[in-house]
Amino acid sequence: MSLPGGIIRVEGLTKVFPNPDGSEKTAVDHISFEVRPGEIYGLLGPNGAGKTTTLRVVSGLLRPTAGRVWIDGQEVTGHPELVKRHIGYLTANTGLYARLTPREILEYFATLYDLPREQAAARIGRLIEWLGIGPYVHLRCGALSTGQKQRVSIARALIADPPILVLDEPTLGLDVLSNRLILEFISTQAAAGKAVLLSTHALDEIDRLCRRLGLIHNGRLIAEGELDVLRRQTGRQRLSDVFLSLVGAEESVFGGRSPAH
């Protein structure tokens, strides 16, 4: 099912972390998938399933213990700096410099991505407009709300107009308005030809955005492919039922936490 032309290609990715006691914890175990340009690929799974670790390896922040990751034909471990240029990575926690303003942060990252000055200014102006950052572009980030911070973070991830977006729980903790804006924004980006790798445990987002997805549970990819195919396979219509039937219904995977909000 692996089609050629995946701009992100992950093969047999395994990541093992050492525990402080010397034992080892396998966070990600033999995961393979690929994401094509113009596609939104969803990584779905409960907290601690290994989604974030997968995204970090894909973005070149962690080295895989085994397996390989190619970004646009380049292997991540060989050229992390080169690969990072092609990726706009949105981290799960909105880590913004509290003492800098959104504009300063965007300018800073524009320089880190080696954008020429005029191009950077134009790009920043457009992002500020798109994401409605204008009203608070001169405030320090420490004073912004979660939704405002998330918009700035997204602008930061898009600063170099990368062909690949890696979004780690982009709507976590957002209100309905920001949530909708960001989901729409993701759709537009994919429509513009970008490959989007999205991790979430919000099932309705997957339903809305993704045609293909991977289900991660305990570090393993338990199902991978088109949503419709998975629905047919399991004979369930609702995504949560699909998921539960795949991991085994007896296991309460989502614990006490609501998968969507």
């Binding site: 402080p20 690969v83 410099y97 800098l100 991830a157």
Partner: protein, 757 residues
């Protein structure tokens, strides 16, 4: 070129970020510019106030009779120091004059001619005449009781009655004082001065009567002629305090940004965002380092400015100036600032390295304290009087800068030493930056939440581990280092120990306690498995072979190296003598006993500690090579001698190689024991000396072993290294060494196979 722009960009942003932080501004500007001058001036004024009060205090003096009171009153009032007119009058007349009330004419201070201390003291008395109130008691014991109880500050007893200026003989005056009370001391000292001057006047009177010149009784007059310029005197005063203050302030300035830009950024989650950008970690750390160093320098400069300003404007200069004999060389301050640059660079890098290791602000603060202490000790060594910028001190970090600063103040320095100091400091700074860059990008530091500080202290949180953590290893290294140093110093100070066999018993106890028991107990407490933590497993035969090659060769090479080193870094004769004395203490014992003290015990204990515990703890986070190097350097430093540093560190490298190669400390123990034992026995005529001599071994006049032996030993060593490096270490691959560190990136093996070995 692009790279420099990028580092510059990072630096600019970090600087902006840091300068917007109120806490940095407080630490950097408010503290030096406002707090210190205020505190300095405040305490100075308090001091002056106190001194003035003590001087002008009214002292109560107890005497035993009315006659004594009258006499003492007259003597005090006629003291030539406070009443110049009275100088020439005989004592009886003074008493009469006083009783008629005619003595009470205002005194006029004569212009000072000489600047002798005696005259200065007189001038002081003239300016602040202390007042004495004389209280009459009925007997001597009562006088003593008064002073003892503190009711009177001093007592004057006249055992022979009221003294008169006789033709000959000497009358006795006893001053009663409470030597624990500063006021009593001052009162008594004042009275003593008055009486001394009276005695002098009477002596001159006697001499006049027998027509002798006063010079008759001083056939030899000793004078001092200080040649130091006032600037130099001022410089030496400044040199005693300012360097230490500057060292402290430079660190203080760097601490906050160093923590904030590394551990702080990690804690706030911005580090991950930053790492996403296509920027090499080295560039990131370089940009941050520039900012920390800049702020440390700014902080140092502001402190210097503040010290200068306080001295110049605030009257500290006047206090230090002691009547114009001292000039503070303020013009040296800019030069001092230049010297501080490498210091700021080194501290910034060291602090960054330490903080890069931390995952949170709090954890970083815990790591910073030892660095601060580690910096203070050599700084204090530097301000000790008499230390000079030469020999090993030239390259001793912090100490060399402190001494150079001191020398700058006194204007006694040369370009050669400045060069040495700058070069060595830059080298240390570079090493620290490299370590920082290495640690900064570590996955474990970036993301993993393991090993937080709270799990370090409570045993119930500990999970059994195969190796100590790097933090544990560093902690124990630091504790054992100072404990070892002080224990050995203490041992040498004990009466009847230095140079005897008892020293060796003491040393053995210290070594066993600190290098063997301490890590063992610590490991047990931390639930670290002893067998794996100390690499106690068996080694492959190749390991024993390599160890044999090392152990049989290094003692000859070390001997040759020492002889060579003697030509450019000669061991001071005292040190050599002390060393010989130490070895001579073992001269009387059986060679086998010597082997135990010199070979067996150090080999086992030191290998357990350094190559076992410390290396095991550090290789996880530093990587194998860096860990071996760090442990080897620590091993060298632990021998407390610059002269042995190179040899011991080199040995440390070889032993470390054995341990990481064969995953067992036993070959290293053998090599270490052979080296120590052969070094000791080769010099003993009841040891191996006769045997070795038969094979042509012997040291020539300059201490070199025969060239043939050197060549043979060198070859043997190379063979050993070749065995260890070239041949794969026969047993299990060294995989669990690489715990999570991406640096070595060896292919994964199952973690279990190491235990099988």
């Amino acid at each position: 070129m692009r790279r420099f722009t990028r580092i510059q960009t990072i630096g600019r942003k970090e600087l902006l970020d840091t300068l917007r932080d109120r806490r940095t501004l407080i630490a950097m500007i408010f503290v030096p510019m406002v707090l210190y001058p205020a505190m300095m001036l405040g305490s100075l004024q308090g001091f002056e106030l106190q001194v003035g009060r003590l001087k002008q205090e009214r002292y109560k003096v107890a005497v035993e009779s009315e006659a004594a009171q009258r006499w003492l009153r007259a003597v005090i009032d006629s003291d030539p120091a406070r009443r110049p007119r009275a100088t020439s009058l005989p004592a009886e007349e003074i008493v009469e004059l006083h009783e008629r009330g005619e003595l009470d004419v205002p005194s006029t201070a004569p212009a000072l001619r000489d600047e002798s201390p005696a005259e200065a003291a007189r001038a002081d008395v003239r300016q602040h005449p202390p007042e004495y109130e004389i209280v009459v008691m009925s007997q001597a014991d009562e006088v003593r009781a008064q002073v003892r109880s503190g009711a009177c500050h001093a007592g004057v007893l006249l055992p022979g009655g009221v003294p008169a200026r006789g033709e000959s003989g000497s009358a006795q005056v006893t001053l009663v004082l409470d030597q624990t009370d500063i006021r009593s001391q001052i009162a008594a000292a004042g009275l003593e001065g008055i009486l001394k001057r009276l005695s002098e006047a009477w002596l001159h009177e006697r001499l006049r009567r027998v027509r002798l010149d006063p010079q008759f009784i001083t056939p030899l007059e000793t004078l001092q002629e200080p040649v130091a310029t006032p600037e130099k005197v001022g410089g030496s005063i400044l040199g005693q305090i300012v360097p230490l203050i500057l060292v402290i302030m430079t660190i203080t300035g760097a601490i906050y940004p160093a923590i904030d830009l590394t551990a702080g950024e990690r804690e706030r989650g911005t580090l991950e965002t930053l790492m996403v950008a296509p920027v090499p970690t080295v560039d990131l750390i370089a940009g941050k380092f520039l900012v920390v160093a800049l702020i440390a320098m700014l902080s140092a400069a502001l402190n210097l400015l503040s010290i200068g300003g306080t001295i110049w404007l605030g009257g500290l200069g006047d206090l230090l100036a002691r009547g114009g004999q001292v000039v503070i060389p303020l013009n040296m301050l800019p030069w001092v600032l230049v010297v501080l640059v490498p210091l700021a660079v080194m501290f910034s890098a060291a602090l960054l390295a330490v903080c890069s290791f931390a995952r949170s602000f709090k954890e970083a603060q815990n790591y910073v304290m030892p660095v601060m202490v580690a910096a203070m000790i050599p700084a204090v060594v530097g301000i000790l009087p008499g230390t000079r910028l030469e020999g090993p001190l030239l390259i001793m970090p912090v100490t060399n800068i402190v001494i150079l600063t001191r020398d700058l103040f006194t204007g006694r320095f040369d370009l050669f030493s400045i060069l040495w100091v700058t070069l060595s400091t830059t080298l240390y700074a570079g090493a620290a930056v490299a370590v920082a860059a290495k640690l900064f990008g570590q996955e474990a530091v970036l993301f993993a939440d393991s090993g937080s500080i709270k799990t370090i202290f409570k045993r119930r949180f500990f999970r059994p581990a195969d190796q100590p953590s790097a933090a544990q290893a560093f902690l124990l290294l630091a504790v054992v280092f100072s404990a070892n140093f002080f224990a050995q110093q203490w041992l040498l100070k004990l009466p009847g120990v230095a140079g005897t066999l008892r020293f060796w018993f003491g040393l053995a106890a210290v070594i066993v306690t600190l290098f063997l028991l301490a890590p063992m107990l610590f490991a047990l407490y931390m639930r670290v498995r002893i067998r794996s933590a100390f690499s106690l497993g068996p080694a492959a035969p190749a390991g024993w072979l390599a160890a044999l090659c090392f152990g049989l060769s290094t003692w000859v090479l070390a001997q040759g190296w020492f002889a060579f080193q003697q030509t450019w870094l000669p061991m001071p004769p005292e040190m050599e003598r002390a060393f010989e004395e130490m070895v001579a203490a073992l001269g009387g014992v059986h060679p086998l006993v010597m082997l135990v003290f010199l070979g067996l015990l150090p080999a086992v204990c030191e290998e357990m500690f350094f190559r076992g515990y410390a290396l095991g703890g550090l290789r996880g986070s530093l990587g194998r090579t860096a860990a071996v190097i760090v442990v080897a350097l620590a091993f060298g430093i632990y021998h407390h001698s610059v002269h042995r540093l190179i040899v011991t560190s080199a040995l440390g490298l070889l032993f470390g190689l054995l341990v990481v190669r064969y995953r067992s400390i036993w070959p290293a123990v053998v090599a270490h024991g052979l080296h120590n034992g052969l070094s000791g026995l080769s010099a003993r005529s009841d040891g191996l000396k006769p045997l070795l001599e038969r094979f042509g071994y012997g040291l020539d006049a300059t201490g070199y072993p025969p060239p043939s032996w050197l060549v043979a030993a060198g070859l043997l060593l190379l063979v050993g290294i070749a065995i260890a490096v070239l041949r794969p270490g026969g047993t299990a691959p060294a995989q669990t060494l690489v715990r999570g560190s991406g640096a070595d990136a060896a292919p994964p093996h199952s973690g279990g196979d190491s235990r099988a070995g």
